[in-house]
């Protein structure tokens, strides 16, 4: 706990991290206290106003064309879904990815091969069509979306962690612990895990950001819970409700800015964490690329970047042995 608090203080001191923390704080506040902040209750059917109103003092962002709900209130409630999906998925991905990565890296052998084969299969199946198929078969809900994100998301992290574990495996203190007869589990928990913890925390922040964008996309396609209010779904409603036809740009811009702020804040926090953990930025060459190339196909990009990191490793190792390729 103390470690967590000191981490937050360090992020606050970092200029970009401060911005991220502020915005994230506002969003979390909105999500938790939505019923208090929002001027109208979007779920209350009797409190609807006239449909398709333009922004005014009573309705800062106007009302929807299809149902007459207040858009500003919906915006505030929408924070709940985005943050919840992003954080839960991020944390679960981190957990599973860590476990898989550490096992594969440390235990090696069959476990390693098995995990890597599973990763290969996962990477090939296209996620968006699979999500559409599974929500068709098993019903549309955020649980299903989180489930699919976690199932596909742990692969990238597992590879990264595995690479790091391979390095740690050969470090002195791990070898010493092995020699002194410590059990595998003990070593993994006490020695390896702290070594990759920085990677984990950073990845949670960054992947949460990526997940929020992906969730917006899935909600936009209508794959989330139809009764929940989420920013992606607001965009979908705007499109099908005729915002484009009527020219109600505020209905489109508002949820977009919501998505932008949530992703931006987490990315800033991730960037701050990265610089805190790696002040020398030597190994962060690869991390930098990881961060910069986050976009909707981030899983594949992570894979590519981590391979690049391995190659760099191999190159350095080869250089040490005395052969330099040009």
């Amino acid at each position: 706990m103390k470690g967590a608090l000191s981490l937050i203080v360090k992020i606050w001191k970092h200029p970009q991290g401060r911005v991220g923390l502020l915005i994230a704080g506002v969003l979390v506040f909105c999500a938790i206290f939505a019923p208090l902040i929002a001027p109208y209750d979007p779920y209350d059917v009797t409190a609807r106003a006239e449909k398709g109103l333009s922004p005014s003092w009573q309705h800062p962002l106007g009302t929807t064309i299809s149902t007459g709900q207040d858009i500003f209130s919906m915006l505030i409630y929408g924070a709940r879904v985005s943050l919840m999906v992003g954080l839960i998925t991020g944390i679960l991905t981190a957990l599973i990815g860590a476990v898989m990565g550490i096992c594969a890296g440390y235990v090696g052998g069959l476990c390693d091969t098995l995990v890597m084969r599973v990763v290969d299969v996962m990477l090939v199946i296209p996620t968006l069509p699979l999500t559409i198929v599974l929500t068709n078969l098993f019903g549309k809900s955020y649980f299903m979306i989180i489930f699919i994100f976690v199932i596909f998301g742990w692969t990238g992290l597992a590879r990264v962690i595995r690479a790091q574990v391979l390095v740690l495996k050969n470090s002195n203190y791990v070898k010493a612990a092995e020699l002194s007869g410590a059990g595998r589990w003990h070593i993994m928990m006490r020695h390896i895990l702290p070594g990759v913890s920085h990677l984990l925390i950073m990845n949670t922040a960054l992947s949460s950001a990526g997940i929020m964008v992906a969730e917006a996309g899935l909600s936009f396609l209508g794959l989330g819970d139809p009764t929940a209010i989420s920013w992606g779904k607001m965009l979908a409603d705007a499109q099908s409700g005729g915002a484009l036809l009527f020219g109600h740009w505020w209905w489109i811009v508002a949820p977009g800015i919501g998505i932008f702020l949530s992703v931006f804040s987490f990315m800033r926090i991730g960037l701050a964490l990265e610089e805190i953990f790696n002040p020398r930025m030597k190994r962060a060459g690869a991390m930098h690329r990881l961060f910069r190339t986050l976009n909707n196909t981030y899983i594949q990009k992570v894979f590519a970047e981590m391979d690049e990191a391995e190659r760099e490793e191999a190159r350095e190792a080869a250089k040490e042995k005395g052969g330099a390729a040009v």
Binding site: G52, S66, G222, T227, Q239, G242, L244
Partner: protein, 619 residues
Amino acid sequence: MRNRLKLGALLLALLLLCTACATDYERRGDTSSTLYIGEVASSFPTSYMPWFSRDGVAPTISSMVYSTLLSYDEATDTYDPLLVKEWAYLDRAGNPLLTEDGKVDYDRLEKEYSVKGTSCIPIRFVLDENATWSDGEKVTVKDIYFTFDLAANQKLSNHAGALAWVNDLLHKYDTNTGKLRRQGIYTYDTGANEKGYPISEEEKDTVFYFEVNKVLGAITPLVSTVLVLPEHIYADLISFDCPINNTDPTPELAYAYQHPVGCGPWTLDREKTNGQEIVLNRRDNYHIKDENGGPLYKVDTLKFVLYQEINVAIYALKKGHIDVLDSSIAANYARLFEKEEDVFVASAPGLFTQCLVLNVNVPADQSTPARQQLKNPELRRAIALAIDQQALIDFVLDGNGQVAPAGLVLEGDLFAPDADIYAAPAEERLAEANRIMDTLYPEKDAAGYRLDQGKRLSYEILANPGMQDTVSYLQVLFQKIGVEVRYAASGNSPETTYLYGGNFDMTLQGVSLTPANVDIMFNSHFSNLNRSSNYGRLKNVEINKGIAAMRSTLNRNTKYDLVKNLEKMIALEYYKLPLYCQDVTSAARTDHFTGWVVEDGSNAFNMTSLSQLVKVEGR
């Protein structure tokens, strides 16, 4: 390398310039007598075999390219000639059962066939000798025999015949062997004279007889829904190995599907038709003309344009890329067209009643305590009384709807005013509902919802996302009697997933009961237990008896009375509770064609409009 990159950039700029010289949309330049119709669907059919086409635009196209024997006019309860120009029920001596003014003599019909020993009713039809197929061949009784024979032969049609309702035609095949068990269609060449149905040599191509079940409702689906197929095209292509309903047809059969030859007023223009557009040309040798001897429909060509989304189609209408939208639009879109002079927006009362369906008879494997409670008719009555239709209409539909009666049959000959059992003012009904609930479930929890043995009364309403607002308002209404309802998404195929198996608490369903379909629809909604519209599995012996009696009576007045009686019985079941009857709002442009007619339940694009459209000169 940089030069190469620069070259690439230049090429791109060139392509962008190309975009500037692309031509404008087709519609504005087209001054021919072509009507552009916008269709909102996921895809257009690639083949036009009329019996399979149930979704999207396919039934519309099929009904225009092909024809049925007669068309049923609901308003006057008469059958207008299409392929058949005269027809009559026959009495046992073979004389037509017609009154002096040529109408069906239902009284004598009843007297003739209520007698024991009669197993069927014969009907004599005379084809219009001018009826032709689009390839020039005449329509003859061979085509009629082929069509109805195929529909009755499940083995040869590979159950496509199940989609053509010929159950009441007493022409039956053994489904396992494919052999004819009982003949019910008689033409000159298939033993009419031998059976006692006289057909002379001159009439052999135009006269045929049907033997139908002794029910009044036998004839409507037979003559007004079965589309007639050309024998000279399909007879050689079909066999037991290659039935007509075929996912892997032979090339010749596939060709026949894609190049439909029909006897309707339009033909499919195969060259211009593709995945995004369907073009129909008016047939000039169509045998039915208007009063002045000119073509029945005034437009030369119909062009159906596919749009994947309603908003895009509305935009196209606004911009003038299409003339009419074959779909209803939400009432609040009328605002969009306020400033457009050339767009005409009209509202007409709808014919579908949106109902709340309760699962009254849940099967044992889907039973939950909540669903067991629904078996109590008093609870259902309270729920029914709590529905304030006018409030729903004002709130959810912004006033664009009508209140629907509890008997579910709208205004017309079959409407039974005394079936409207809860027409009292809303406050009275609510008070009565709460009285009932107080005797059933007096305990309430902190939020005001009633408790049944300590558990809150709570139900899920299965509906598609478009109905969320309705469900939300029902939440408010039912909260007033202490019942909680929640929205549950129905998914893409609710019927196979939940409804047929009885795995739901409540759901929303659109019901349309009209004189044309009472025979089939009452059964389907309130009696059938197997994969039918009777989602709640209502099993009421009295109602089943009533439906059987209604179907089998030969006296028209009795039949109507029985229907009205049935309406009262189903209202008292409190099974399908009417919510509202939504108006149909539609829009059409008047800059190329004027004379749009909007009928009840239809949008601006309908057959009556087509026969009255006038082209605006020069545009």
